[in-house]
């Protein structure tokens, strides 16, 4: 594959004149090195200009329309609905319901199911509320692997909620991989606390 560095995009490199034999210590030709901009355009702007998203602006899927039995793909997954918009997050309500996972696993453990059932009970009573599940991992995976695993964990909790009768479009997911550890530390005690799914209650704004 052809490799291109930035300099070659900006300049024409001057060909070097090779010195004649017997005159080795005094270079006859000089390679002129071009300058580079010292700053990156956009770096000093807050995030740089952000254009509206491209295709799929709403994030809505064709089958995402109101409360109905979840669509299930042939693989047994439940497509995500549009991200919640204009809701008020409450991180305290479900603090005791944080679901913990085994190392490198996304299956909900039997001992953790009661926590999800408590969340489902709340959502059945408060029909205007929604919930977001944050998936997290310990540091013992590679970063992008963990980002996918964290999402898989959040989705596993979501599937359990759907099986308890909560509409799929009331449940959103976000994976932070290993980027938001609950507990600092490099031992099993810390790791066990970091392999988790946290619930954030989303209330309609008054």
């Amino acid at each position: 594959m052809k490799s291109v560095n930035f300099f070659s995009l900006l300049v024409v490199v001057l060909a070097l004149t090779v010195g004649v034999a017997g005159c080795k210590k005094t270079p006859k030709g000089v390679t002129s090195i071009p300058g580079l901009p010292s700053t990156v355009p956009g770096a000093d702007q807050t995030g740089g200009p952000v254009k509206p998203p491209g295709p799929d602006q709403s994030g809505k899927l064709p089958e995402d329309s109101g409360v109905k039995p979840a669509n299930v793909t042939p693989e047994g997954t439940i497509p995500l609905s549009a991200r919640p918009d204009g809701m008020f997050p409450d991180r305290e309500v479900f603090k005791q319901q944080t679901v913990y996972f085994d190392f490198d696993r996304s299956a909900v453990k039997p001992g953790e199911k009661a926590k999800i059932e408590a969340v489902a009970a709340h959502l059945k009573n408060e029909t205007a509320n929604k919930v977001e599940i944050e998936g997290h991992c310990d540091e013992r995976g590679t970063e992008e692997y963990n980002r996918a695993l964290g999402e898989r964990r959040a989705l596993a909790v979501r599937e359990y909620l759907v099986n308890l009768g909560i509409a799929a479009d009331r449940i959103s997911t976000v994976s932070f991989g290993e980027d938001k550890a609950a507990v600092e530390g490099h031992d099993e005690a810390a790791w066990a606390k970091n392999r988790r799914g946290e619930f954030v209650l989303l209330k309609p704004k008054p």
Binding site: V4, N5, K24, A43, K51, P55, G59, T77, L80, R147
Partner: protein
Amino acid sequence: MKLNPSLYLRPATPFLLALALGTFAAEEKLDITKDATHLIPVALSGYTGEAASVLRFDLEVAGFKIVGPGEAQFIVTGKNNGQVEGRVTDRINKATIMEAKAYANGSQRLQAHWLADDIVFALTGKPGIAKTKIAFKGEVGKHSEIFIADYDGHNAVAVTRDSTIVAAPCWVPGRRILYYTSYKSGYPDIYSHDLSSGERRVFSRYPGLNTSAAVSPDGKRVAMILSKNGSPDLYVCNADGSHLAQLTKTREDESSPCWSPDGTRICLAARVNERRALYLVPASGGPMTRLRTEGVLNPTEPDWSPDGKTIVFTSQMGSFNICTVPASGGVAQPLKEGEDPTWAPNSRTVIFTRRLKDKRILSLLDVPTKQVKDVIQNSGSCSQPSWAK
């Protein structure tokens, strides 16, 4: 150490070489098969300060060992008061390998990088990498930002100011454009950011996860991981976001796609039937086939060498290890402890992440010699390097 100079001479000088070899030829033949894994001894004469340290660093990354003049096969002689200058001689065979060169304009640091690349080309016949750029994720306080820097970590500049989590930068081949993940919206979205104009666009903002963008070698398509269908899967779309196609459909998680240099296949990490492995998927769609990585477990983060021959990846067996495997699959070769490797344009050097006690740093690995050099570090953790090609 015995060397066969012909391996290090640029092809343009065979005649000179033939004269110079003389009586050495017979005994030096013996070491030919080992040569690629041996550090080549070079002496630096006449350099001081930054120029000396840049030359030393660049040559060590390229598979050389800086030694005293008495032990050197090759001697680089020059100076750096005023402009940087240098020439290369073969001490053993009494031959001039590179006539004197000098460099004007730019910093002394940049002039030394230019000289280093010219030395590497003169001795190996292959272009050096001392003038290339990298991008990476760098921690700034509690947040992370995308940075770009020289390949040795100098001149690092933040290209985001999102004050959130960012991840997985990826260069568009041959362009000053980066794709990366940012949680600026509260969710992981993929952005494309033109570093020349400063223009930044939301590239992928579907429900759930949008991450691990990988731009095809021709720059026309983007592979990425999306979870919008209910599981993290591999998707490919055009560079304008159109024609989105789902290439894997599993209930488990896929991660870290990379392209074959010819753009026909995508390699990624996946778990199928409880087994984590590297898989190949046709870029136009089709079944996943497993890439054999014999001898190691839990491979992730593949990156395909620009010459197409070798895939470098991370294995996880207790600790993380940088490994290589032929692109056709086979026995994996663990090289060094570390993770998230990315090839340089030369298909020889790899940059990767190393975990220290409470910090992650970037290091450079010369694959044939396994020589490791740490990149100059920012104050916070650095990870997820991507090499501009």
